[in-house]
């Protein structure tokens, strides 16, 4: 998997200590999250997955699922469009489902 060993950083922003009554509760907190995994493996229409899916989520959302049927993947893609407002043109739904089936399909 494509995770870099990222050291967790919790930084207290400059200036916070200037407040006389500063407690652990009112110091600003800033974190650096590890890089998300957007790697989609090669497969038919992978360019669509790489351009559409990663707008909202990492690729592990696909690979952690149990193998799903074509009907289930179609439901998932349609849910992304209808429920979550993904900007996927109707003609791309089937090619994306084809890609998902190639990666984690149950036939």
């Amino acid at each position: 998997m494509k995770y870099l060993p990222v050291v967790a950083v919790v930084t207290l922003l400059a200036g916070a200590s200037a407040l006389a009554q500063t407690t652990p509760h009112n110091k600003p907190v800033s974190v650096d999250l590890p890089a998300a995994n957007y790697e989609f493996k090669d497969g038919p229409n992978v360019n669509l997955a790489r351009s559409r899916c990663i707008v909202c989520h990492s690729s592990d959302y696909v690979y952690m699922q149990p193998p799903l049927t074509q009907k289930q993947w179609t439901n998932e893609v349609n849910k992304m469009v209808k429920a979550y407002g993904a900007t996927i043109p109707p003609e791309e739904v089937e090619p994306i489902v084809q890609y998902l089936m190639s990666q984690n399909g149950k036939t």
């Binding site: 998997m1 990222v6 919790v10 922003l13 600003p28 707008v55 989520h57 407002g85």
Partner: protein, 399 residues
């Protein structure tokens, strides 16, 4: 009551089996016992190494061995579940405000200083994802494929939601209160994460706006600086980075209430996998569960008397009884309940067990609540994989 000594003993036993038993383990990854169960292990800010289910939005699972460390789940091991990728990574508590508005006499804009001026209350409560253990649904269902680690127990400290609402003055005609936080969608077309529940629950004494978790500020990934704590209810309602409270005169119908987080309106929320067209309701209170934590599934244990221990919890009637079986649930005997930290908390339990050399055992535990509810011997099923609470079994062989 479980002594400190027994915790130390079980902790050292944990070290002994960690290398040999449980989930298959390679460096920086773990394989949960279902298809596509291999996960990266990684350290996120303010967190120890956790199981990465997804990296954006971030979803991290607590390794199950953590539940043997004590009744309270450490903040750095507490599971993480965000819904939308737009989670702020910098929070300035001094600038943070909670807006209270809608059907109220006085709109409020509360600073954290204001919030701390309300009477502080503390409550031990289990925070569990409605989809905890979804990976074990049979047949499998799409969704977050958790093992059993999308839960945790913490001592929460904060202000009562009721006190805040009374300061604002709830007007007649209030039906629900809806809540949202700083979590934002990437696309303007994606529904904002908004949750709602009835005014009666909102005005009950146990719902709090928490600014502390186990005696410390919340980790950012668990909702710093404040999250809603709704004891007994699934964590979907425990809105993180809570900054918006609105009293409304109707039942909220946004996506996260009307479409997502729904269960069949059937006994136990169960349906046949082939069923269609059934009515649904929003997920609500926790099902009763219990787990063995002192020994993992598949372990080899020595042939000498030992203590098997674990946890049990439910939606708030409290745990009346935990029973233990070493023959897969054919015969049961009562376990000893440990210290009671409150009716919404994990309740520790333990039992003496004398394994015989060369034998294999299927250990099981079963909790019964003060409301009489107990755990089923066979798992229920619903299309979203919610509410799992089947009797868990732990197979061990004796050296």
């Amino acid at each position: 009551m479980q002594s400190r000594r027994s915790f130390i003993i079980t902790a050292s036993a944990l070290g002994a089996w960690a290398a040999s038993a449980g989930a298959a383990r390679a460096a920086n990854s773990v394989t949960l016992p279902f298809a596509n169960g291999t996960r990266v292990l990684a350290r996120y800010p303010q967190k120890r190494e956790l199981i990465v289910m997804t990296s954006s939005p971030v979803q991290l699972e607590t390794p199950f061995s953590v539940f043997n460390e004590g009744v309270f789940t450490p903040n750095d091991a507490f599971f993480v579940r965000w819904h939308l990728a737009g989670v702020p990574t910098t929070i300035d508590p001094a600038a943070f405000r909670i807006s209270v508005h809608g059907l109220v006499d006085r709109e409020l804009s509360l600073s954290l200083h204001d919030l701390r001026a309300f009477e502080p209350v503390e409550i031990a409560a289990v925070c569990e994802c409605a989809g905890n253990s979804r990976g074990y649904s049979t047949p499998r269902v799409p969704g977050g494929q958790w093992s059993n680690g999308a839960m945790g127990n913490a001592l929460w400290r904060g202000a009562r939601l009721r006190d805040v609402l009374e300061r604002a003055g709830v007007k007649a005609g209030a039906v629900q209160v809806r809540f949202s936080g700083l979590e934002k969608p990437v696309l303007p077309t994606t529904p904002a994460f908004v949750k709602a529940f009835g005014i009666r629950l909102a005005l009950s004494e146990d719902v709090i706006i928490a600014y502390e978790m186990n005696g410390a500020p919340l980790p950012l990934l668990n909702g710093f600086p404040v999250r809603l704590v709704v004891p007994g209810f699934y964590s979907t309602y425990w809105v993180k980075m809570l900054n918006n409270i609105e009293v409304i005169d109707h039942v909220d119908d946004n996506f996260w209430m009307k479409t997502a987080y729904r269960i069949p309106a059937t006994p136990g929320g169960n349906v046949d996998p082939a069923a269609t067209g059934f009515a649904t309701v929003p997920v609500g209170t926790l099902t009763i569960r219990s787990f063995i934590t002192s020994v993992p599934d598949g372990a080899t244990i020595p042939a000498r008397a030992t203590t098997i221990s674990g946890i049990a919890f439910n939606a708030g009637s409290g745990i009346k009884l935990v029973e233990f079986s070493s023959d897969g649930g054919t015969t049961w005997s009562a376990a000893t309940l440990g210290r009671d930290y409150g009716r919404y908390s994990f309740r520790p339990w333990s039992v003496r067990f004398e394994p015989k050399a060369g034998q294999s055992y299927v250990l099981a535990c079963r909790a019964t609540g003060n409301d009489g509810e107990t755990q089923p011997a066979t798992p229920g099923w619903n299309p979203s994989g919610y509410l799992r609470n089947v009797i868990e079994t732990t197979k061990v062989s004796v050296a």
